[in-house]
């Protein structure tokens, strides 16, 4: 009853600022994973394994940070774990010609089976780890002094990594020869191969980058937002990233904008927790929005023509 009374005064300026900040924060892991998915799709490999790579990144980041005491090593091993799990997907799909849905799901199953097992083996706890050295309390006081951009001081290192990585991948895909070749491999592997491009090499490279970025996205959850690993903390963001990716027309900039759009619903859900609406319905919100968009909003968006096709060099 207390809460209901607050509803009229709920939407004050503070709340909008809180939603704005939360949107930026929630968009960070989504943007990183979506950027990874972009690499995967543009080189012609389905991005279904992103959820698993994200779980691997989130968990192994925490594990490395716990064992070494260094958050930077944590991030490094998060990306490495992402690459390892991505290579399972890459090897199965690209080299051994497995159906891409099955190989992606296999990665997701592997990662979501490994993480709880290792949590139990290393810490002997159920589904939750102790807190480790992280970027959660990362202070950059210098940014506070910039007028109008003082909110940047509330962001952690991953936010800036997203901005940099989006620019770099845009430049890679649209301004470099290699990026153009990677896109051509995704569109038409036969034609690309005729031109002497190493199709399988490019595909594996794309999947590996996807793994590194997804692992970084997982780390941005476990080392950037919580400083610990909790089972199910990725909460299907890898799957939502697939939808964001299509929503952003499979472009780096589009994935950033799409991530902000979906991050907004995640943020809305977080900020509205204190209102009278049952929390389960709020938590459902991002998934319902995703479902509506994937059902009705993606009519005219096509994947690169080569996705899911097998190819021999």
């Amino acid at each position: 009853m207390e809460n209901k009374k607050n509803m009229t005064t709920f939407f004050t300026q503070d709340v909008f600022y809180a939603i704005f900040l939360a949107t930026l924060r929630m968009a960070v892991p989504l943007a990183l994973v979506t950027l990874g998915a972009t690499f995967s799709v543009l080189c012609g490999v389905s991005e279904l394994g992103c959820e698993g790579m994200m779980i691997a990144g989130a968990f192994f980041g925490v594990l490395a940070s716990y064992l070494s005491g260094s958050r930077w090593l944590g991030v490094f091993f998060a990306m490495l774990a992402g690459i390892v799990f991505a290579m399972v997907h890459g090897l199965m799909h690209v080299v051994y010609k497995v159906n891409h849905t099955i190989s992606g799901m296999a990665v997701n199953l592997l990662a979501s089976a490994f993480a709880p097992l290792l949590v139990k083996l290393v810490w002997n706890t159920n589904s939750i780890t102790p807190t480790v050295d992280s970027f959660k309390t990362y202070e950059h006081t210098a940014l506070k002094r910039i007028p109008g951009l003082s909110f940047l001081s509330e962001m952690n290192i991953f936010f800036f990594a997203v901005l940099a990585l989006v620019c770099i991948s845009w430049f890679y895909f649209f301004k470099t020869k290699r990026g153009f070749r990677m896109r051509s491999v995704g569109e038409n592997p036969q034609a690309a191969n005729t031109l002497g491009i190493n199709v399988i090499g490019y595909k594996l490279a794309g999947v590996a980058i996807c793994g590194a970025l997804s692992g970084l996205g997982g780390a941005s959850l476990s080392l950037g937002q919580l400083s610990q690993y909790v089972d199910g903390m990725t909460a299907g963001r890898g799957y939502i990233a697939m939808v964001i990716n299509a929503f952003g027309h499979y472009r780096p900039l589009g994935s950033l904008l799409g991530a902000l759009f979906f991050g907004f619903f995640d943020a809305l859900q977080l900020v509205l927790q204190s209102s009278a609406i049952p929390s389960q319905f709020l938590m459902m919100l991002p998934y319902v929005v995703t479902l509506l968009i994937v059902s009705f909003g993606l009519k005219r968006i096509k994947q690169p023509a080569g996705v899911g096709k097998h190819h021999d060099n």
């Binding site: 279904l48 010609k97 089976a113 049952p278």
Partner: protein
Amino acid sequence: MRSSRFVPYGFAIPAKYGYSASALLLSLVCVAIIILFTGYSPLEIYQLIFIHTLNNKSRIFLALSQATPLIFTGMAFAIAYRVKIINLGGEGQLHIGGMAAAVIGAYVTGLGHVSHVFLSLAAGALAGAFVAFLIGIIKNKLGTSEVITSILFNSIIVYFTSFLCNGPLKPAGSATAQTKAVQATARLTKLVAKSQFTTAFIIAIGIAVLLYFLLNRTTLGYEMKAVGHNAVASQVQGINVSRVYLFTIMISGAIAGLCGAILVLGVNGRYVEDLSLNYGFAGLSVAALASYEPLATIVSAIVFGILKAGSFAVDRTTSIPVELVSVVQAFVVVFIAAPRMIDRLFDLVRSIFDLKKWRTKRI
């Protein structure tokens, strides 16, 4: 292409089951490596899992009762995969089916045992089929792949049922999130006293036989197999492909819903928030190991049931947790999916030991 017969040591087995056995063996080897890292002997652990479980009657029934939900979710995934639909929504369909069965089981009164159980099971199956119907209709009418929608439906349904058992359906004074206990008339009969081995196992086998007949003896089954092999050719031949898709995914959803219902009516006696111990996704491994044959699903589910029951004992006596089983399941999917990888491995083993030469010399 290699021949369709899988010939490991000179005698032929149908290829797909040979690959299944090799995949299971390879995943056990991979998990053995993990066990080595924990400092235990893999041989002792596997001895504990398999021998210890199978030399005691009550532990055999534990294994069978652990296998029962896996038969359902395995069949649910397998039947959908026969038309190349990947129904990853088993988890959600299981939860909604369990909730429907719990509501009918708890709030409908004045029925006989058989009719009440039947009604509750039917409610679970219908609820699961309804969710699957939504997934199928979105696939048919809007062209959206069922992979993403079924996963999204999982999250939505789990939050919805969590709302129900935390809010309106939570009995007064209950500390945990659950619904009212189902009536005694709706509980499944225990076949063995002091175990969770109920009539659910018989229902599972009955459904597997029904699915076998559906696939091999009916027009719909023929159409399903045709669509699974080549959807475009089937369309040209006059099969209504979208109707086959819709029917199949609804059957799949109904079986997953039944799984939730038997968990509620047979195991927990009510809907609890953590009803499914990841059975929905485990179904993928079970179906893959059975190479998507309904009857073989029973066998592969029992294999995983034995693993699960055995790993309870391992969990009690060592520091290795039950979660080991899900790693085996995940590895099975990896190895089953890549028969070429297994071929390559066997070629490697052959070239190392040069088995053919060795055998011809002996003869």
